[in-house]
């Protein structure tokens, strides 16, 4: 029946599809052979039209990624342990439409490619999608049949089948699921062995079907076998047809063989799962290589996939483990609020130690706390600047790679420090020392206000320990070097952004935000600096004016006027002091705040960089895994079983690495996300605090001004 439709190109694929479906419902054999035909179709297509695999692998990804997320989540979460079986059923049902949708997508693609590739494969290709579609009903039939034969077994069956489908859908190494599968089958499957095997074969076909595009080149010569295979399949009973089909494939895909064998004897199931597994691995190794090139879908798909596969042993477990995943921003924010603590650190008494060029500044670091992690409530240590840098080095070594934003210390200033070393008492060096003291204090505050960094033993040691080993190699962080380092990191990040097509829109947007914010802050910093300079200038000019008024006052003959002018000179002197204070307020409040945040943004970018590195590691591992698989495939083809085991071991090893790196990447991503949110909150809080401080200083200076003028007014009026 199918054969005839195959030979005569149908005018209306729609109607034929129904026809075929109908046929298939009646007889599974047809579906099997349909699958064969389909694979043939894809074979010829892909042979003629090389870009096909790429394009065909992309659309399913869309389908896979979105619907399963919903369909699976809900049942998973709701199902309790007792309802595992029924939950599994519902899942299986949920899976079917997804599958259909995916296949429909494939249809389109294939017919598209057909149009391009020419007339020859028309018949094949047209039938192929139809048959493909028909496969779904077939599967559900299997389940139904199984249910008719043995209720107990079907329930169990449906679950594993579901798992298998899931695997297909997610194209994910389903380790947990795969291991789980044999036990399920063992448990309730003495009678249901056969339905199970058919069922699995159905899946196998799916896999092959998907696999075709990958192995198109190698399978190409196989095209001629189709009719033979089909007739065989027609004649054979379900199991036989399956094995026939399997045989057919085994010629170039040995992996299928163990599957068949395994399906027949439940003892061998473990090897079967391995086989299954590797098949799929190929599939999605290919898929991921392509998919990973773009889009959030891949990432999301992976994440969704990772969830169901890991907790597969029990559905209730999966329900519970799926919880942490949707841990959203709100939860993170809640966490934020918890980290209030009682820790007060001050950096005081900058003191020059030693003489000449070996001199250095030592600071008193006093801590006041009620936290139990410290030995006492109050303690003081002396630290030199390089100790602060050393602390940063240690912290960034440990935490930066995990995606934490490690607050950067103030830059080393060779010029400023040399002045301090050489000069005795000079206002600019005094200002430098004060500026650095304040910067160090802010730095320590930032470190300890970070909940994770506070727990670090090095931080505690820094605050508590009397003598600290001399920090070395902090020279690298000095001034320009530090900036250069940040710039380098920035360059690297921007380069990598080009390579890494961001898998999460959030990160992409944030990174852009950070970049533009950096620009803005730099601009603001320049503005504030000019403001500060104007204020300083103003205070100088005011001082000069005060001086000239004082001279006027002393030369003035009219005593009342002379007195008033002298008073005015004093007022102007005081105003000069006000301007000077305001200049330093402007500087310490805004310029330093902005400078701090420019540095911090560098650290934020560095943590984005760390995430990117983790991603890179993961991708490299995946590429490596893909290579290993290709090697394995070649070995299979070359029929060298001696080396095959080694290749398989390597694949297992790399699979472990891939999943490890992926987990790492997920972890780093989550940390970065949390850190950036924390950083933003902290930033808002910081700015608000500083603005209030600034306003208070402005207000105070205005009130001083009022006092001065009020005092002067009667003097002016007293001029006779």
């Amino acid at each position: 029946m199918a054969a005839s439709s195959e030979r005569s190109p149908p005018p209306f694929p729609e109607s034929e599809e129904q026809e075929l479906e109908h046929d298939l419902e009646e007889d599974e054999e047809d579906s099997e052979e349909g699958a064969d035909i389909f694979t043939g179709g894809t074979l010829s297509d892909s042979a003629m039209d090389p870009p096909l695999p790429v394009s065909s692998s992309e659309p399913p990804k869309d389908i896979f990624s979105e619907p399963p997320a919903d369909t699976f989540k809900d049942p998973l979460n709701k199902t309790s342990a007792e309802k595992a079986a029924s939950g599994g059923l519902s899942k299986a049902q949920a899976a079917v439409p997804v599958k259909v949708a995916a296949d429909e997508e494939l249809d389109d693609l294939f017919s598209d490619s057909l149009g391009e590739s020419g007339a020859a494969p028309v018949t094949d290709a047209k039938i192929a999608p139809l048959l493909d579609l028909g496969e779904e009903p077939q599967k559900s039939d299997v389940i139904k049949k199984g249910a008719g034969k043995d209720d107990a077994s079907t329930e169990v069956l449906s679950a594993p089948q579901n798992d298998v489908i899931k695997k297909d859908i997610f194209e994910e190494p389903p380790k947990g699921a795969a291991k789980d599968l044999p036990t399920d089958i063992k448990d309730g499957n003495a009678a249901g062995k056969k339905p199970a095997s058919t069922d699995l074969f159905g899946d196998d076909d799916d896999e092959d079907l998907f696999k075709e595009p990958l192995g198109a080149m190698t399978k190409k010569p196989q095209g001629s076998l189709f009719t033979e295979a089909k007739s065989e399949a027609k004649a054979a009973r379900p199991e036989q047809s399956n094995s026939a089909a399997a045989d057919l494939f085994t010629e170039e895909a040995f992996t299928v063989t163990p599957v068949v064998a395994a399906a027949k004897s439940s003892v061998n199931t473990s090897s079967k799962t391995n086989g299954l597994h590797s098949d799929e691995e190929d599939l999605f190794a290919e898929a991921t290589v392509e998919l990973s090139l773009d889009s959030p879908h891949n990432d999301r798909r992976k994440r969704e996939a990772a969830k169901p596969s890991a907790p597969a042993p029990s559905l209730s477990a999966s329900a519970s483990t799926s919880k942490p995943q949707p841990k959203t921003l709100e939860e993170l924010e809640e966490e934020e609020k918890e980290d209030t603590f009682d820790l007060n650190i001050s950096v005081t008494n900058p003191e020059k130690v030693g003489d000449g060029m070996n001199a250095y500044m030592a600071y008193k670091v006093s801590t006041q706390t009620s936290l139990s992690m410290f030995r006492s409530k109050q303690f003081t240590v002396r630290r030199r600047f390089s100790d602060f840098l050393g602390l940063y080095e240690k912290l960034s070594e440990k935490h930066a790679q995990n995606g934490y934003i490690v607050p950067p210390p103030p830059e080393k200033s060779i010029l400023g420090m040399t002045k301090v070393k050489v000069g005795k008492e000079d206002p600019s060096s005094a200002e430098f020392v004060e500026r650095r003291r304040a910067a160090l204090e802010r730095y320590l505050h930032r470190v300890v206000s970070h909940p994770s960094l506070l727990q670090d033993p090095d931080v505690r040691e820094f605050l508590e320990k009397e003598e600290l080993p001399r920090a070395v190699s902090t020279q690298a962080l000095s001034g320009a070097g530090f900036l250069k380092m940040i710039n380098k990191a920035t360059d690297a990040v921007s380069k990598m952004t080009i390579k890494m097509n961001e898998s999460d829109v959030w990160f992409e947007e944030k990174l852009q935000e950070v970049e533009s914010e950096d620009q803005q802050l730099r601009k603001l910093h320049a503005m504030v600096e000019s403001l500060v300079n104007h204020r300083k200038e103003l205070s100088v000019n005011t001082a000069m004016f005060a001086k000239s008024v004082a001279m006027l006052g002393s030369s003035e003959d009219n005593t009342a006027l002379s007195r008033a002018l002298s008073q005015l000179a004093e007022v102007e002197d005081r105003i000069e002091q006000l301007h000077q204070d305001q200049a330093s307020n402007d500087f310490f409040i805004f310029a330093e705040l902005l400078a701090d945040y420019i540095r911090l943004l560098g650290a934020v970018r560095a943590c984005f960089d760390q995430r990117m590195k983790a991603w890179q590691r993961w991708q490299d591992a995946q590429n490596m895994l893909q290579k290993k698989r290709e090697t394995e495939a070649k070995l299979l083809w070359a029929n060298k079983p001696d080396k095959l085991q080694q290749a398989k071991d390597e694949i297992v090893e790399w699979e472990a690495k891939v999943s490890q790196y992926e987990r790492e990447f997920e972890r780093v991503s989550a940390t970065v996300r949390k850190e950036v949110i924390r950083f933003e909150k902290e930033k808002s809080r910081d700015f608000k605090k500083q603005i209030i401080r600034y306003l208070e200083s402005l207000l105070q200076s205005q009130q001083q001004l009022i006092k001065y003028w009020e005092a002067f007014l009667p003097e002016a009026k007293a001029i006779a």
């Binding site: 935000e513 103003l538 700015f687 603005i691 207000l699 001029i719």
Partner: protein, 370 residues
């Protein structure tokens, strides 16, 4: 002089106002209104800077006033340079405070003060030139100009020789010394004050830039960014308030103490000029004395006549000068006092306003939830 007396046409000094100024190319035209003391009817005339120069020249060259050289002429501000954008720096250098302020406001104020002082002067208020300047609908004349400049040049040459001339009168000697000293000091103070004011203006400008840039930091993408944006906007408002405060303060500075210091330093200059004219007369008298002593008997009578006339003239000038100086001292003290009080009050009110505004901002900021 006689005709002025009976007409009782003297203008009420305080009624003279410059109500408007229009700029046509390089020429500024001032609308001047005034009232006569005898009637309430106002007169409005339009005058250019050349007309003011003509008036000043007319005042210098009155013929029938005894001891004119002993008069301290109210100082006329320097010629305005209306092509502002081109020569802002030059205008600032020449005019100082008078170049500041919107639409020549401060310059008009200075001209107004000049006219008021001329009208308030006992001798000068009776001059025909002032009368026609304030009343004639026609522009009084443009013939002078160059003469004044030549005069000044020759004066400058003479000054070099006669500045150090020892005075016969103790009072004038000390006046001359203190005037030279004070004039320099006032000039210096005015310059310094101008620097302060310009600095405040620059600061206001920088605040403006800062406040504008803060607006660019606004980002409405997510809740934290919105919170941060609000903070930025708040800060922008605050900086804007600071900017407005500086603008007000510098305006206060210009319109009160700045103008006062400028006027005072120009008056000091006018006083020095007057004293210099007297010194010139003194030198002339001393020459006449020597001449009459050394003169041969046949010319002795003439020489003595000249000597006596010069002596008489010098005496009149000296007495007028003495009065003028005393008058000037009274005037300038009250003038400076007024400026100082006005300045102080304005600064006080600005500071109060600003601190009220800032405390409002502070309250708003403290309530602001992050």
């Amino acid at each position: 002089m006689g005709s002025n007396e009976d007409s009782a046409q003297s203008v009420n000094g305080s009624s003279i106002k410059i109500t408007d100024v229009t700029q046509d190319g390089d020429t500024l035209t001032f609308a001047i209104t005034s009232q006569k003391s005898s009637s309430s009817a106002g007169v409005c005339v339009f005058r250019t800077y050349e007309d003011f120069e003509w008036l000043q020249q007319g005042l210098f060259s009155q013929e029938d006033v005894p001891g004119l050289q002993g008069v301290i002429f109210p100082p006329l501000p320097s010629k305005p340079l209306p092509s502002t954008s081109l020569s802002q720096a030059k205008a600032l250098k020449q005019l100082g405070f008078l170049a500041l302020g919107d639409e020549w406001m401060i310059y008009c104020k200075a001209l107004e003060l000049y006219l008021q002082q001329v009208a308030a002067h006992t001798t000068l208020s009776k001059s025909k030139a002032l009368y026609s300047f304030l009343n004639s609908s026609e522009s009084p004349g443009k013939q002078c100009g160059k003469k004044g400049i030549l005069n000044r040049l020759s004066q400058a040459m003479e000054e070099m020789r006669k500045e150090g001339h020892k005075d016969v009168d103790e009072f004038f000697q000390s006046e001359r010394d203190s005037s030279t000293n004070l004039s320099a000091l006032f000039k210096l103070s005015t310059e310094k004050f101008l620097d302060v004011v310009l600095n405040k203006q620059r600061l206001a400008l920088a605040c403006g830039h800062f406040s504008t840039s803060l607006h660019l930091c606004v980002n409405q993408d997510n809740p934290t960014a919105v919170a941060f944006s609000k903070i930025c906007l708040k800060l922008s408002d605050i900086i804007e308030a600071v900017k407005i405060n500086y603008e007000k303060v510098s305006d206060n500075d210009i319109s009160t103490l700045g103008l006062g210091l400028d006027l005072e330093s120009r008056y000091q200059e006018a006083k020095r000029e007057m004293l210099f004219r007297r010194t010139c007369k003194l030198v002339e008298l001393e020459t006449a004395n020597r001449n009459s002593e050394r003169a041969k008997p046949n010319k002795k009578a003439i020489m003595e006549g000249v000597q006596k006339a010069t002596q008489k003239e010098f005496d009149i000038i000296s007495s007028v000068a003495k009065q003028e100086i005393e008058h000037y001292h009274r005037d300038r003290v009250s003038l400076l006092r007024d400026f100082l009080i006005c300045w102080c009050e304005k600064q006080l009110s600005t500071a109060r306003e600003s601190s009220a505004l800032l405390s409002q901002h502070l309250d708003a900021c403290k309530k602001f939830a992050v």
